[in-house]
Symmetry: D2
Subunit: 467 residues, 4 copies
Amino acid sequence: MCGIFGVYGHKDAAALTQLGLYSLQHRGQESAGIVAVDDIGHARVSRAMGLVSEGFADDEMAVLQGPIAIGHTRYSTAGSSAIENAQPVLARVRRSHIALAHNGNLTNAVELRRALEDDGAIFSSTMDSEVIVHRIARATGDTPEAKVAEALQGVEGAYCLLVVLDETVIVARDPHGWRPLVMGRLADSIVFASETCALDIVGAVVEREIQPGEIVAVDSHGIRSLRALESAPLNRCVFEHVYFARPDSKVFGGSVDRSRRALGRQLARECPAIGAEVVFAVPDSSNSAALGFAEESGIPYELALIRNHYVGRTFIQPTQSGRNAKVKVKYNPVREIIEGKKVVMVDDSIVRGTTTRGLVSLVRAAGAKEVHMRVSSAPIISPCYYGIDTPRREELIAAQMTHEELVRHLGVDSLGYLSIDGMLSAMPEGPSGYCHACFSGRYPTATPADPELLRAGSAAGVPVGVA
Amino acid sequence: MCGIFGVYGHKDAAALTQLGLYSLQHRGQESAGIVAVDDIGHARVSRAMGLVSEGFADDEMAVLQGPIAIGHTRYSTAGSSAIENAQPVLARVRRSHIALAHNGNLTNAVELRRALEDDGAIFSSTMDSEVIVHRIARATGDTPEAKVAEALQGVEGAYCLLVVLDETVIVARDPHGWRPLVMGRLADSIVFASETCALDIVGAVVEREIQPGEIVAVDSHGIRSLRALESAPLNRCVFEHVYFARPDSKVFGGSVDRSRRALGRQLARECPAIGAEVVFAVPDSSNSAALGFAEESGIPYELALIRNHYVGRTFIQPTQSGRNAKVKVKYNPVREIIEGKKVVMVDDSIVRGTTTRGLVSLVRAAGAKEVHMRVSSAPIISPCYYGIDTPRREELIAAQMTHEELVRHLGVDSLGYLSIDGMLSAMPEGPSGYCHACFSGRYPTATPADPELLRAGSAAGVPVGVA
Amino acid sequence: MCGIFGVYGHKDAAALTQLGLYSLQHRGQESAGIVAVDDIGHARVSRAMGLVSEGFADDEMAVLQGPIAIGHTRYSTAGSSAIENAQPVLARVRRSHIALAHNGNLTNAVELRRALEDDGAIFSSTMDSEVIVHRIARATGDTPEAKVAEALQGVEGAYCLLVVLDETVIVARDPHGWRPLVMGRLADSIVFASETCALDIVGAVVEREIQPGEIVAVDSHGIRSLRALESAPLNRCVFEHVYFARPDSKVFGGSVDRSRRALGRQLARECPAIGAEVVFAVPDSSNSAALGFAEESGIPYELALIRNHYVGRTFIQPTQSGRNAKVKVKYNPVREIIEGKKVVMVDDSIVRGTTTRGLVSLVRAAGAKEVHMRVSSAPIISPCYYGIDTPRREELIAAQMTHEELVRHLGVDSLGYLSIDGMLSAMPEGPSGYCHACFSGRYPTATPADPELLRAGSAAGVPVGVA
Amino acid sequence: MCGIFGVYGHKDAAALTQLGLYSLQHRGQESAGIVAVDDIGHARVSRAMGLVSEGFADDEMAVLQGPIAIGHTRYSTAGSSAIENAQPVLARVRRSHIALAHNGNLTNAVELRRALEDDGAIFSSTMDSEVIVHRIARATGDTPEAKVAEALQGVEGAYCLLVVLDETVIVARDPHGWRPLVMGRLADSIVFASETCALDIVGAVVEREIQPGEIVAVDSHGIRSLRALESAPLNRCVFEHVYFARPDSKVFGGSVDRSRRALGRQLARECPAIGAEVVFAVPDSSNSAALGFAEESGIPYELALIRNHYVGRTFIQPTQSGRNAKVKVKYNPVREIIEGKKVVMVDDSIVRGTTTRGLVSLVRAAGAKEVHMRVSSAPIISPCYYGIDTPRREELIAAQMTHEELVRHLGVDSLGYLSIDGMLSAMPEGPSGYCHACFSGRYPTATPADPELLRAGSAAGVPVGVA
């Protein structure tokens, strides 16, 4: 998953972009980057592995001059974790440059890359996104937006794009609308972001969503909207609301906090925990859902798990062994709340089950009499090909066990998931127009011919690594 | 403020200490350090500015061998921020070493340092804690604990100490008991920590608090307790429960989460917010109190402010000006919760008022109809000389303004603080035996002759800086 | 200028390449890089700004596995100083990779790049060398060497290339033979290097020079030589012998130390310094020439200037002003040798004259009675377009002043340059077949249409910078 | 060995000191440091492991304000290699500071340290030098120079000291005069340095040597000289002229280059190499001696070994094994000079013999018919206790083998050392007043009771390491 942010027409475009990326850090912590274009059309790039707060030294920010900037935070879905795969991509071409930041995952990237390579293209990364850069470079359209539209013909899968061509910013959202993209205004400047929370941090006012299938161009000639992409059924990602987006964002037109509250309430209706004395969240992504569960069920909401925010991403447990080691570093239960109680622990989703199992064990060790696990989404049984880094089916615990096995495996007294219909009913504007492939296994498009190759991000039979 | 952690008798002492320091990171983020003593009595130290997760590279940890280790996280109260002031201190003396980690603040450090310097002592830091190291080096007692007891005669103020003398670990807590210190067991090992949450992370079982005025020594001859310090009235820091400690810790014998819940309930009784529709916390330290307020008042609890945990400590706002800039990077309101509502915002304390003012402004911009500020402690009107880094009185907003001025300054519709008595009534084991000097101005001991000199941490008229 | 080194068929190919680059560090100190290809055809790259000793951490070297490696040290002649312009280039293409290291400078790079861009190519650097990578990617030849030969049709200027295509190493030297390139053997492995000193360091035996216009391919099918490039007159760079190469190398079939000795002797014959008492070198590149001058003239050779090898490349004179400041940090005269004497100072060349002027002033301050400057090459009056980073004509002091002006400007009592014919007579195998464009202004090929654009390394009217 | 440099009364004192340390880098490459004292008496320190060029970032230099500065480059002789052992030492004491930089080695440091520790002193390093700081702190004299004189009573061994006490700079040289120390002037400022080359680099004029047993103080009251140390026979280190000092320095009143030339001439007289055709140096420290040998013998001087100055100090040979591996990275012979010749290789000294053996092997591999080794000093048979880091006797090859064994071991056709008398005869001002203990085994003072303990630099039975 990734976060993208762009500014057109502000003298501090790169600094605003850095701020915006702070707000989108939850969408990707592997690398971060900014491309800025100055008043005379020079493009400069700064990219680094790690967090936004680690990546941009003052002297680097000072170099990123100019009124145009786009930025990217990345968690790899396609292409290995390496600095060459950090975005935005910046390519030099025909007296100018193409800069691109991409959120999503192209399902036919392997085929598109092979075709380009057969035509002499050389690639400097293993990312699917670089395919689009090459296609833009070869496009012959008259306007920047026409070039992007031309480049996107035949490109399948999920994408929200920020492109800079010369001194025009072009944004595009795929016709299925998997990923969110919003436009805002800050005085005379135009701002684009994956989520509204990034507009808030820079003080921009939300203007509207970029529509599925829409291309918008902004430059000195103004703002132009183009509908040149083939139309497709709406397939917005339900997991953005369930887990991925920030609760203070509006996504696909609705408040994430409100949809999570609704998911929690629906969960309490579908899977009540009769006789339970306490309900608590696995912080922080499940806080809203747990509060909704408490509200609907009448069971008191407590802050029974404390999360340590100082643990670095790369923390490696130095000495302890056993299944709870990693979980213990990150979470600690409040014994006084839990001891002797029948408790409901709410989480938004279960992927591999490792963390859940560790948490259940911690909660039992803190004296819980019964542990009732409630999950504010349906069981995840299929990998995502549209931009979320879910593992292979073999690693998805709910795809590998029956309900009873899972109850035993997790060590809970009961386990309740939301139904797919219940989950969709909590979405803003109702249950239709959402992709739920990871929950239902019903993919709205053809899936990649070779998912592993797509995952490697390499359009080549011979893998090509980079130190 | 600082966090301290120590292990006696575990083959992975330094690794456990690193884990423990992760749990005590909230007590100090300026620097971190570990001293380990190996099987043949070699002491080694690793110290670095910044977080625990930044400070200890794998190769450094590999060097910190041996069954004894003590560690420290620091936020400077006395002595400037510099690597020479990172702890633990490690001194070489008489064929051996003295290692020391200190949480607290000595009120007569300036005088003690002058006396030592007049006697030829030279100092390698500007910390008050170094005074104790010199006094231990000059002590003539027969046992390690007798030396520490001798060194502490005449030392005034707040201290919890972890000392390693040769292969003995000695801990001491001042007779007033300002700061917390607990002892636990992990199999055959003894573990000491500022808070119980640090025992939890290493899997140690809490054994008991170190008593005010108690010295405990652990070595190959066993565990010995000594009561050699002059007795004094009990003055445990109420602010540990109000704000400082982690909610999953037991401090001074009581659960921090439970006392904060009680503070919130008491706040709702003392300062109800009649007609308010929503109550929310300034996350995360006020979550418990806000939940208590909601519980007592019946006003629904909401997650209306989202905190960005990715913002680095050193973040400098690059472009925005205005009073909300810094606050905006860290907090974002959920408009859907707040808009058109009369809201109660609960925080644990107000120091300079800058953050509160910014938050109020953010909340108003998100559409709140009325903003009622509730604070789960009394107004802070006096500096702390016992280990908490409160600013000078001139910077304490509640010491500078009347209630009405403060309401206007913060921009709230109403402002309610807890009374001192109400605050103390929420403490575990009742209201007595607590220091509330920062709230009441009633200092339980003589205050420093020259607070600024103490703050500088330099026992010298001529300041001595270090690059 | 640049140095290149490659290994085919040795299990420690990357480590040998690192060693070889140490020996070629004098050919480029701006950046260094290595590409290695492992047993199953994975290519990995490590590149860094700065010296070889700074660039490759142990863990990076550990990743560079496999029996094939090529390396590069760079001093920019085309393309700005930036990590994206470090070599070797590694491109992913058609299920494989192209790696390339280039020493030289293409005179029609701007035109070639425009043609490629018009055909949809995108560039990730501003280096002229990237043009060749694109041309190789588009080549349709049956064999790796045929592809390289095809790619080089129409490419003008100076190049020695090391290319890895899949698991074949291909080397090429332009038909004019401007830059040196040798092949050696180390047991069963084949080694290529800019200079023989790099074969010595890895213990390889010199086999032969790569011939001008020759392409050699090495892979599991053996070694193949191809003569597919259009023939051209021989134009080996005389400046390699005068200054650039290391004295312990054989270049163009002759010992650099021996040719410099001959240059010094010829200089003594053409420009004797009658009555001088001492001759000394500007260390270290002029040592041989000064010794030759002493030998021929009978004036005693002395070590009168001591060079400080610890001064970093990025040293910025912090306080001193005046013309000698920078020179003083690097050189110090031995007063006891110079005082009261008529001295001859020998240098290999004068470019801008700044260093010479500073040295003359230092030598005078050390008490020299007369300073006679002798230069073991002809006056540099024209820029080089074939790979040496000489400045614009306006900065070449000998192109801007008459001999008399120069004598005054440098502050010498006399100034003697070698004649072009004298200089060429000292070359191994006699005076013919050398390029002396920088001394004579007679360029053996068409010069670039727009030298500044070539220098910028950007085939674009709009400059494209990179932070 | 170490280099020291100090400035009194210059607005750019720290910057000049950095420059001076560049010139003294050959005296110590392990760590470097500067203490500066500003106009209002604040002392600041910057110290780092590694070279001067690596150690001082611009922002650190900017902090080192003020008219007083002292600096140090270190190669450890006593005390392990660690940042805590970098100098200058800066101690805070009695409203002020003591800064100290020391070149030399105290022979009774262990005893002095024990006495101080028994009196309650605690040490923050394992360096012998810290003993002097403690003694200065305890001195009661009326003036800064009286305090230093008092502190030095009973201190035995070799020392040149730069001390800053408040705003006075005090320098001292031990009565035996082992190490050099000179005073110079730069306009109104006073400059001190280990060697005159460091005065040259800052443009200071040499004023005079600091005399053995002399203490000089400089402050706002002027310059004062004190002769308060017990007198002792003159024992200047002959090895400074043989190897250690830079050839462009005057040391002990004489030019190092001139004495090395005299050593080379004397060597040719004592150990001629009849029939040899070529003489060359092991660069760079033996260049002068080899030139002297050539001059006296009439055998032509050649530059037959080329040294690679780019090899980092920490270079670890990655792949090659065998005895020549390390030598090959640093030196390469010029085959054209050596092949088929009877050669004389001149080096200044042989310590362990490893490098010599490797060089002989390289020279033979380059085709030498005969290799005659000539050494411009006597055999090293005893360790130095006065500041040079010679290894234990067991590692001194000349102490372990007969001449015949050594000839065989090194692989030479003949081996000639200078006699001790011949060596001393080449010293400036004649042969008397020099320490030659490492050559003769005749120590001019009592040797340390426990040399290993002194070497460890720890005055303690229990070693105390530092990560």
